[in-house]
Structures are given as C-alpha cells and as structure tokens.
C-alpha cells in the first residue's frame, strides 16, 4: 500500500477544521476524533476541492462530525444521511459526497438505505464508525455489537448475531469495500482516500473505540485497552487468506475487500446516458 504523505497536524487543523474546534465534544479517547482526522487527511491526500466537497451526517456521536469541518455540511435525522447524500450527488454529480455515520445509524435504522445506495453504485463515500454501540443514547447494542457484549439493553449479554457490514455492502453491489481500524491510522487514511478516488459506491468500515459507553461495560475500560484489543483482534486481508475459518472466528479482516473499477457503471454516469437516450427520443 502506498505510503501516505503526512501533512502536519497543525496545517490540517488550520485548513479543514473550524477555529476553536478543539477540544471536541467527544469523550477522552473516543475514536470518532481519529476517524474525522483520517477522513480529513484522506480528503487532503486526494486533493479534493473544498468547494466541491460535502459532508453528510446522521445522528449520534458520529452525527456531530460535521460540526468541526469547514465544508458544506448536513446534519440530519437518524438513519437518513445516505438518501440525502444520494439526492445531493444525483442533483449535482460534481460534488464529492462523504457520509460518516455510526454503526447504529448506518446498519440499523439506515440499513436499508445503505444497501440500496450500494446496489445503485452511486458515487458517494460512506464511512462507518463502528464502535459497537449507540454511544449518544448511553450504550445500547447495535446490529454491529459483538454477540455476548454487555450493553444497557443487553445487561445479560447480547444474544443477537452481528452483521458483517462489509459483506453486506459487497453482497448489495458496492464496488469499493474496505475495513480499517483506528489503531492503524495510516492504513485508514489510505483506505478512505481510495474510497474517495473510487468512482462508485464506497463503504469504509472503521473499527473504533467507545471507551465510555462500550469499553467500560466490557472489560476494556479505556481507549488504550480498546486499541490494544484492535491490535489483537484484527488480521490483514493477506494474512486472513492463510487462516482457517476457525482461526478467523471473532477476528476482523482489515484492508481492501472489494475494488471493482467500472466507472461507466456508476449511477450518475448511467444517468447521464439515460438523459442522452431520453433526449434522442428514447433510442440509444
């Protein structure tokens, strides 16, 4: 994987964050700050124009991401970031539409929108901050919470199975799917940058840490504990290929999982062709 040129943090702060953004609203050690920083560094790496870049968020701790960045930004309602992003992108395909969401936002209430945006293969970049919980409402289990976890709504342990969101997106037709983790920040920047460059629907799931509402209840009380847990429970795509299903149980595979280059199959590109066809009286 190409090594990312790292711009100084002070420059990143000055260029992309609003003045007085720090300290942020998030709890000490919260991984959302890491994801935003990587997202911004990825935007910087790709060289997106400020004016052409839009950030769309939903609700929850991750919903506040928009609040620090100096882009056109949207903070809507729970679960509906993706359809707003679809509207923006289809109305103005020139826009780079980036959609950071939480695990509850993207996989529960907004799960239907996620799979259909993937199916349409519309060129938006969805970033899922997966910290295994609804942090903002006090730590309930989400569809991405590991089975057995203690949360405020699974006080005896979560009996539900969790989604593999990347597999779901892949099955739905996303043409770029990757999983990263906040501990591997350089890789995360790379994965998001490639997702932004990719012409088509991109999903980047980032394993993140919520020490306050998740870690604390699951014997991983600090951000440091959760990051160490990440180190121990993630395996790279390459290594995963050499491991048996038994060995992979409970592990998160990180890296690029799907990358299908087919820019002409992207939704807004198809739409342009549809318009041409309609203009010529329905004949292609």
């Amino acid at each position: 994987m190409a090594k990312v040129a790292i711009k100084k943090t002070s420059e990143i702060r000055a260029e992309y964050y609003r003045p007085n953004s720090f300290p942020t609203i998030w709890c000490p050690g919260c991984g959302i700050g890491n994801v935003v920083a990587s997202m911004v560094r990825a935007i910087d790496t790709v060289g997106l124009k400020h004016d052409d870049t839009v950030v769309v968020t939903g609700i929850g701790c991750s919903g506040i991401i928009y609040n620090y960045l100096n882009f056109d930004a949207y903070h809507g309602i729970h679960g509906r970031a993706i359809p707003v992003a679809v509207g923006l992108k289809l109305a103005n395909p020139r826009l780079n539409v980036i959609v950071p969401m939480g695990d509850g936002d993207s996989s529960a209430i907004g799960g239907n929108h996620l799979i259909h945006a993937a199916r349409r293969n519309i060129d938006i970049t969805a970033i899922v901050v997966n910290n295994s919980t609804y942090g903002n409402t006090g730590g309930q289990f989400s569809p991405l919470t590991p089975t057995g976890s203690i949360t405020t709504t699974s006080p005896f342990g979560n009996i539900e199975n969790s989604f593999d969101l990347c597999e779901l997106a892949k099955g739905a037709g996303a043409t770029y799917v990757a999983r990263g983790a906040t501990y591997y920040s350089r890789q995360m920047i790379d994965l998001i940058a490639n997702g932004i460059r990719h012409k088509g629907f991109s999903l980047i799931e980032v394993i993140s840490q919520c020490p306050v509402q998740y870690g604390r209840r699951n014997k991983l009380p600090t951000a440091v504990d959760l990051l160490k847990w990440q180190k121990e429970n993630t395996v790279s795509v390459t290594r995963a290929k050499t491991m048996s299903p038994e060995e992979l149980k409970g592990k998160f595979i990180i890296g690029e999982l799907v990358n299908i280059e087919a820019p002409d199959q992207e939704y807004t590109a198809r739409y342009e062709r549809l318009i041409e066809k309609a203009r010529s009286g329905g004949k292609s």
Partner: protein, 67 residues
C-alpha cells in the same frame, strides 16, 4: 535513514489526557504525570514515527521533523 526530531509539542489546552499517545509511543518518549498531563520526557529518543500524532483523537500533537 534516521530523522532529526526537533520538537514534539502537545497542545495542553486541547489534550484530554486519554493516555493513547503515552501508551503507544514505541520509544516511550511521552510520559503522563500523576494528574495525567502528558510531558515530552525523552525527546532525544523520538524516532519521528508519528504514531502519537496520528493516534491523538484531539489532534493535539505536532511532531516537528527537520528535513
């Protein structure tokens, strides 16, 4: 090629003392005092790996490397 690190600066007004930088610095350059305040204790050990800078959720760390 070894790099020369001139400074590791912590924006103390912003630092939330989460301890991430201290825990993951491979060279143990950073230490937290009893109150949790992060100090750059062994700058001379710093390899300029940027682990601390990239892992800080508050973007509170700047590592200055001389070219």
């Amino acid at each position: 090629m070894p790099v020369k690190v001139c400074a590791v600066t912590i924006d103390q007004a912003v630092c939330k003392q989460c301890g991430i930088c201290v825990a993951f610095c491979p060279k143990d350059v950073l230490v937290a005092d009893k109150e949790g305040q992060v100090e750059v204790a062994y700058l001379e050990e710093c390899s300029g790996c940027l682990m601390c800078e990239l892992l800080c959720p508050e973007l509170a760390i700047n590592v200055d490397i001389a070219e």
